[in-house]
Symmetry: none
Subunit: 304 residues, 2 copies
Amino acid sequence: MAKSPKISASHEPGGLIVHISGLLPSLSPAEQRVARLVVADPADAARRTITDLATAAETSEATVIRFCRSVGMDGYPQLRIRLAAEAARRIEPPDARVVGGDIPPGADLAQIIATISFNDARAVEETAEQLDPAVCEQVVEAIVSAGRIEVYGAGASGFVASDFQQKLHRIGRIAFSFPDVHTALTSAALLGKGDVAIGISHSGTTSDVIEVLEQARSRGAVTVALTNFPRSPITERADFVLTTAARETTYRSGAMASRLAQLTVVDCLFVGVAARNRARARRALEVTAEAVRTHRVGGSRRRS
Amino acid sequence: MAKSPKISASHEPGGLIVHISGLLPSLSPAEQRVARLVVADPADAARRTITDLATAAETSEATVIRFCRSVGMDGYPQLRIRLAAEAARRIEPPDARVVGGDIPPGADLAQIIATISFNDARAVEETAEQLDPAVCEQVVEAIVSAGRIEVYGAGASGFVASDFQQKLHRIGRIAFSFPDVHTALTSAALLGKGDVAIGISHSGTTSDVIEVLEQARSRGAVTVALTNFPRSPITERADFVLTTAARETTYRSGAMASRLAQLTVVDCLFVGVAARNRARARRALEVTAEAVRTHRVGGSRRRS
DNA sequence: GCCACGGATGAAACTTACTTTCATGAGCCG
DNA sequence: CGGCTCATGAAAGTAAGTTTCATCCGTGGC
């Protein structure tokens, strides 16, 4: 097992912009200024010369080049071209939806709904676009052949972890998730070769989750990280890194788009695992559905 | 500078490629060779350097520049960027997304990802579209002025319930959610006028949730139902009904799109509530974020 | 047939853009 | 408080793009 996680350097099929904003926190301050300009208006950036862009970002050309390299480009010209292409593709934002920004103070419910759903949907789409099928495949493979699967997450990511655990469990995989660190650590210590440990953290900096993942890895389990930031600490403890692409409206507003993005990844993995053995999975799903049938009341004649 | 050819300067409506091939015959032989290369593969041309392209067209750089001017560009860099943009736009649509349907048996991960995310994103968008702002407003109002809020859900909807509870709690509302029916029933029995009870059930037929909601209502609490089916049993016990619009890929495949749709509604209500008292909500969010700060590891900066 | 003329063309000079190197200085760890 | 690492921009160096200009070739007039 390779020790360095696959950040899929050259693989950012979905969006370069998405890729860049994911990398943003791992960039140096000066590079971040450049990145922000680029993300804010890719088309405009593509039009600028390197000197021009450097000046606009209040830095030197050298830093712009470094930025190019940091996001996986060969040099500035390549970045320019990619940006132009990217910008052309995303001619979409037609209406004045508050993209990525905060909710304006005087907003009414209709505005709030439009903004939230737009950002949520976008997070889902962009996450899917930049998800690397090859890495997913390997993770699915690991899960399918795992003796035991453990999923870790804290706070909002904890619900996602539980959701994943529940899904895996429903199709007959032996999966666990934990409400607290101690239990998780204890359990992780009992993992071994062939087991799978999945850590979920939007920021990639949740020490509890990192710690548990580290523990799991030291016991020989295959480790997977699910985070929004491909260069965050958690990725160093993971054999496989899966990234989401959520730009939270406001960082502290409680996870909103981020957990939807995480759940989308969970869905993909889940279906991927289920698809490996359709018959068995289907049977399991039917059995479990049957089990709760008596907890449903009849005529839901839905004709929505 | 009077001698340059007068071609429709900067405005070539249809497409740059179309434009170029249109005036191809009016170009000099050497320029035509360049033009043909460009038209044949714009994306490739965009990647080439001027020297490279000149060589490929068996001509000199000077001619390439002349060609740029002939088609109305300022210079080679501009042409490059326009070409990249053009190329990006024209290969977009042919995307074999598996819409709405089930995942085909032989599907690979890339297909799965496309299908899932498409349906997930759609569920979010469609839910937002049909969500009634007026009803949301009333629910928000009820939550804001509630003495206590309880959220019920079973299975996958249980996670959504917990998520909502956690969010409300974070902004200082007194909210609860429950892992089992008994506790929930007990708690619901203690609700009274001015309290709010929210029941979440995708199918709208989960008897446990219905039962608890009924209990809450009988105690005078305001009841809210969140379901995908506006005519389902749960709606009969609710003062306010909020609906999601998820079409699950496969009914029994475990809730996927449905919970994303539910979470979107949760997000909207949450932001709606938070917006009612920005200052207080913001302060609460900051305090809670600070509380977990020591559980985050710092410097995510790294270079590959 | 010879000679002006003009457009097309590429070589080379030139300019600008891009890239690398290196010295500096800030922050961090022991 | 040294001795590190790392981020950064100035400046040197290289490559890309642009201009200039001499040449070439075909044309048409004499």
